[in-house]
Symmetry: C2
Subunit: 369 residues, 2 copies
């Protein structure tokens, strides 16, 4: 750990000395915005703090683990327009900054994306420091007349596995900065496991829900709860409150044949969602498989069992006449060894695969609607 601390210190000193050189900054605190500005939330202004993912009232209905994880800012982002040369963010975190198989940049870091005048995404970079008090300085030194004059739309993705306590964005006085209101498109809502929450992306922008949001240019709500995405009725109840464009149920890696009745959980979840929102497409996602299926017979048989039960649920729902229900099978996900960090969590390559598969299916569904 020494090296991290040393590097933090160096970056901190660099930051300090840099901060002294620059002109006065105007800082903006999203918590003080007059209108909701945190994208990726289904219940804006009902959260206990603006960096949580679930409404405060959900606490008593959920298991403690789910509630705790819902405080982590996976899938949340802040949209704004600016023409600044440097976009600075200072923020405080409440949790651990890294995990053994996921770097600080993914667990606790930020990721900034902007749009070119042709609508393509670009990703500024600069200096950063991730610790209990963290900061990024994104450099946007572009010699593009339209940017200098009009700025562009930015999206700042928040940490995947940490709780944001406080955050401010700063630009130099001479540039403009304008927070953007939430988009009004009905969101895609993804309920899932650690994979959905973002483990083990190397940075927030590489979590599959965030990649999907950029690919489709469509809002995505991340309801991924590490180790705790279990198709629970209480969470499904909350989902029915969301006037969604698509529901994704991607919980199988957190289900256990010995404990959970996957068939029943899936059937009841879909019936509940369809009961309230019959027209909203629902995607049932199979277990992606373990990378060590070949050398771990338990994992192999577990995957087979879970996916068989999900298949039965899908068939039963179709037989009962439910429409717009889709099954994303293990083969569709197409995971290979190079897409995993350990035996279950995607690396960035796997995250891109996940997002690409979802993008294709969702575009197909939308084209047919």
């Amino acid at each position: 750990m020494k090296k991290i601390h040393l590097l933090s210190l160096i970056l901190f000193l660099a930051h300090i000395s840099f901060a002294q050189e620059i002109t006065e900054l105007k800082w903006w605190n999203p918590a003080k915005s007059e209108f909701p500005v945190i994208a990726g939330q289904a219940w804006p202004q009902q959260e206990k703090t603006i960096y949580h993912r679930l409404p405060e009232r959900a606490e008593e209905k959920l298991r403690e683990a789910v509630w705790r994880l819902s405080k982590q800012s996976a899938g949340l982002s802040i949209r704004f327009r600016s023409n600044a040369n440097n976009i600075r963010v200072k923020y405080k975190l409440k949790g651990a900054i890294a995990m053994p198989h996921m770097p600080a940049t993914g667990v606790s870091g930020l990721d900034l994306y902007g749009k070119t005048k042709d609508g393509e995404w670009f990703r500024p970079w600069g200096t950063y420091r991730i610790d209990s008090i963290s900061s990024y300085n994104f450099k946007v030194d572009v010699n593009v007349a339209s940017y200098i004059k009009n700025g562009t739309e930015f999206q700042l993705f928040l940490p995947l596995y940490n709780e944001v306590d406080h955050l401010e964005i700063g630009v130099e006085e001479e540039f403009f900065f304008e927070a953007l209101p939430l988009r009004i498109e009905k969101p895609i809502v993804a309920y899932g496991t650690s994979i959905c929450q973002g483990a083990c992306a190397s940075r927030p922008g590489m979590a599959w829900t965030n990649i999907l949001e950029r690919k489709l240019q469509w809002p995505v709500i991340n309801l991924g709860f590490s180790g705790n995405g279990r198709l629970e009725p209480a969470l499904i109840d909350l989902m029915t409150e969301i006037d969604a464009k698509v529901y994704i149920l991607d919980c199988l890696p957190n289900l256990t044949p010995e404990r959970d009745d996957t068939y029943k959980l899936a059937v009841e979840a879909v019936k509940k969602l369809k009961g309230k929102r019959p027209e909203v497409p629902v995607i049932l996602t199979a277990h992606l498989g373990f990378s060590d299926d070949f050398t771990n017979q338990n994992n192999n048989s577990k995957t087979i069992k879970l996916n068989k039960d999900l298949g039965r649920a899908f068939d039963a729902l179709k037989a009962e006449g439910f429409t717009k229900v889709y099954l994303l099978q293990k083969e569709d996900l197409g995971f290979v060894d190079a897409m995993f960090v350990d035996n279950i969590h995607p690396n960035d390559h796997g995250m891109l695969q996940y997002a690409t598969v979802y993008e294709k299916l969702i575009r197909d569904i939308w084209n047919k609607l």
Copy 2:
């Protein structure tokens, strides 16, 4: 950092309690092998310790930074045959276990690959603990008669950014374990930067040199030195000692137009290599580009300048009649934003891209030889 320590403790306790259950283990220490067993070294038995990458005599000829980095075990691996149900490794490290943008699994972790009876790679997984004293327990619970009877070939990839002090591999008494000698194929030798050393792969197997080794099933020597791959004559001199199958010079991300004469360094490096080994193909690799080229004009112009100088060097060498010299251009590398962790280091997706591009070029070269 608290979470890492807590997790380490839990894994440690799990490890201890697990260790008590299992039967007696027989441990093998590669340092005590009667024949060289560390693959990925060009100078076996000339290293100060068997986990270094350069011969001891090189210390006085190299800058201190290069020498220090050469002690890190990037690209090194241990090959063995076994039919064990569990393959345990305990090891001690000398350096920091993680970096802000690269997890402990990549910096300091291990990666085990085996071969199916059809010659395909598989990757066992299990439990692990990475700290100053680290351990992995790879589970190989396969119900394959040929494995139980004959075992198979394994390759254990060592940490990318740490120095191994001590390592032992253990299997239970009832299984066999046999270290494999070094392969006699002439190696592919890659001299480069942090990207070549393996930053920021999520695990050792995803460093591009290690992916390339598996793809081609051919030995690759990793001479990547983080921040210090500068096409230096002293290092090129060492390379000429290696009877290589291909030389790769991939140093541009560590060159600086203000300090380094890329044209001259590249021309002299190739002349030196060709002077000693005229028939060995040499690949000159361009700068892959920064992911923030668009928002950082300095980075953009730096890449253009470096690549232009390398292109001139390539043209000059061709004009002088040198053959089997190849230029891998920025466009060939084909990097896009989703392949980067920060603005220069590949994530696993980028590492796979890098390896795939090299694989194709090297197969093309070999097909023409």
